[in-house]
Amino acid sequence: MNFKLILNIALHLLQARLKQTVVAAVGVTFGIAMFISLVSFMNGLNDLLDGLMLNRTPHVLLYNEIKPSANQPILLSESYKDNANFIRSVKPKDIGKSIYNSKSIISYLKKDPRILDVAPKISTPVFFNSGTIEISGLINGIDIRAEEKLFKFSDYIIEGNIADLSQNNSIIIGKGLADKMLLIKGDIIKITSSKGNLASLKIVGISQIGIAEIDNTMSYTSLTTAQKILGEPTNYITDIQIKLYDMTTAPAVAKEFHNKFNLDTIDYRTANSQFETGSTIRNIISYAVGVVLLIVAGFGIYNILNMMIYEKMDSIAILKATGFSGNDVKWIFVSLAIIIGLAGGLFGLLFGYIFSSIIDIIPFETASLPTVKTYPINYNPLYYIIGITFALFTTTIAGLFPALKASKIDPVEIIRGK
């Protein structure tokens, strides 16, 4: 088949109905542009929200959960071994929140090639005393260097410096907490631990993560200060936070470490399943809207090609009489559709990129997200590939039906019909 000639004929037919073809192509352009900007924006938003979660969450967390012992005394009894035993009022066993042998576990984990880094943490509930009022909250004792490396903690410090935490008896408190207790940087805060120990700590910074619940209760101090408040030795650690190179392996790694260290483990996915659901639904919405727009554009193309076929009946008849087969005629109209789809699609990508860039510079300042200044956009090339593929797909399908009709036109009927 002579594709150059077929393309040439298609282009000439197209020129004859330039206005309609442009309208058809603009339909595709609009569909693709909207699809690209919508998907980029939605995914930018998803990334932002996921980041909010992922930046704070370790991929795998090792800790001791408070739970009843799995082996109750009755199970050891020979005489009741074969019976079904019902035990009521079981109380959880106090194995302590401390991770046993934490130092050797951490040094073992640091050698694991899958692991980016490990950050030990002490998490403990405390009361913040302000005059006669006691406000419950949490203290996280953190390894400053590791915490900064894994979670970019300094992004969330709105006042003060994270390095100041290395001073003895210093603390960084959440913005909500500071507002509630009318405290500013440099003030002294009194703390009562769950064991009744009292401590006075100097506020060296204020943090804001953007989630009110956390900012109202959370405070940060160094590992050693936390150990001192609790009156525990220097190997006392309640959590080991792990970041992996490949976060998708987190569930498997969590399971492996659970068996290996006999510790409770949780991966980021299980801990934050509601985020996944939100992202998935937002994705479905943006793809659905994009697909609908393109289908509408497809109908436009179908219409115009159909009209063109009725107008060009004579030309089709003479092409067939002079030696073009039905197949050739089909390809003429399919290539017409592809030309419209390709031109419209490419312009759609361009406009989609322009629209995304415009959204990207619109200011978006919110108190809860200190690091975000404009609306988020994800410029993933994959969306552009999906866009152009889908544009070509719908236009080809839309062109195929009229093209098949044209290929079946009987020239005799048209020539005789005059």
């Binding site: 000639l5 008849a317 009489a321 030696g323 009987d410 020539i415």
Partner: protein, 226 residues
């Protein structure tokens, strides 16, 4: 090749089914030799155009057999038939059927471009030669809608000639033309048979035109009567 039959039909029958079954052509057998100028005449509805469309391979719904250049064409695929039409048959219709999107020269070249036997430069040269012999070379770059009826028909003839066809078929080629232009078209046909030994098969109801051809086939009620 032992004979010089360009076109042969054996026992052609054709039915129309709409609105009722009706036999248009009844067991027609005929042949045309190389270099003949044949006209088919008959009253309106006698089936002469139908016969032409069967012979032209455009209509494939018939009983019987058709040979072009001693090659059986009955039962060939759409694609093969298209190639045969492209290579071996030239058409001239009552209405000129030029492609409005192309200029005269391109219209003439189009079947040649489809065949792909010559390069575009050669085709352009050949097309110009044909237009020159039809005294149309000045109009080569005009669009079809700028031409008169007679001029358009001459372009259609040039287009029919571009691939050196075995046979040129005409369906009322002068039906839509005035006397002067009809004579012009006839003279062109005559010249083609005399000078180039071109085979021609023309359906017409213009008896003046028919009487001047080499051979007249008269049809009535779906049969050849002389």
């Amino acid at each position: 090749m032992e004979n010089n039959k360009v076109l042969e039909a054996v026992g052609l029958s054709k039915y129309f089914y709409d609105p009722v079954k009706f036999q248009v052509l009844k067991e027609i057998s005929m042949s045309i030799n190389h270099g003949e100028f044949v006209s088919i005449v008959g009253k309106s509805g006698c089936g002469k155009s139908t016969l032409l469309y069967l012979l032209s391979t455009m209509d494939t719904d018939y009983d019987g057999e058709i040979f072009i250049h001693n090659e059986l064409v009955t039962g060939k695929t759409d694609k093969e038939l298209a190639l045969i039409r492209n290579e071996k048959i030239g058409f001239v219709f009552q209405f000129h059927y030029l492609l409005a999107e192309y200029n005269v020269l391109k219209n003439v070249m189009l079947p040649g471009m489809k065949l792909g036997k010559f390069t575009n430069q050669e085709l352009e040269h050949r097309a110009m030669e044909h237009l020159k012999t039809l005294d149309m070379q000045d109009q080569a770059l005009k669009m079809p809608n700028q031409l008169s009826g007679g001029q358009k028909q001459r372009v259609a003839i040039a287009r029919a000639l571009i691939n050196d066809p075995l046979i040129i078929m005409g369906d009322e080629p002068t039906g839509n033309l005035d006397k002067k232009n009809s004579d012009l078209v006839f003279d062109i046909f005559k010249k083609l048979t005399q000078e180039k030994n071109q085979t021609l098969l023309v359906v017409t109801h213009d008896t003046d035109f028919a009487e001047r051809t080499n051979r007249i086939i008269t049809m009535e009620d779906g049969s050849i009567i002389s």
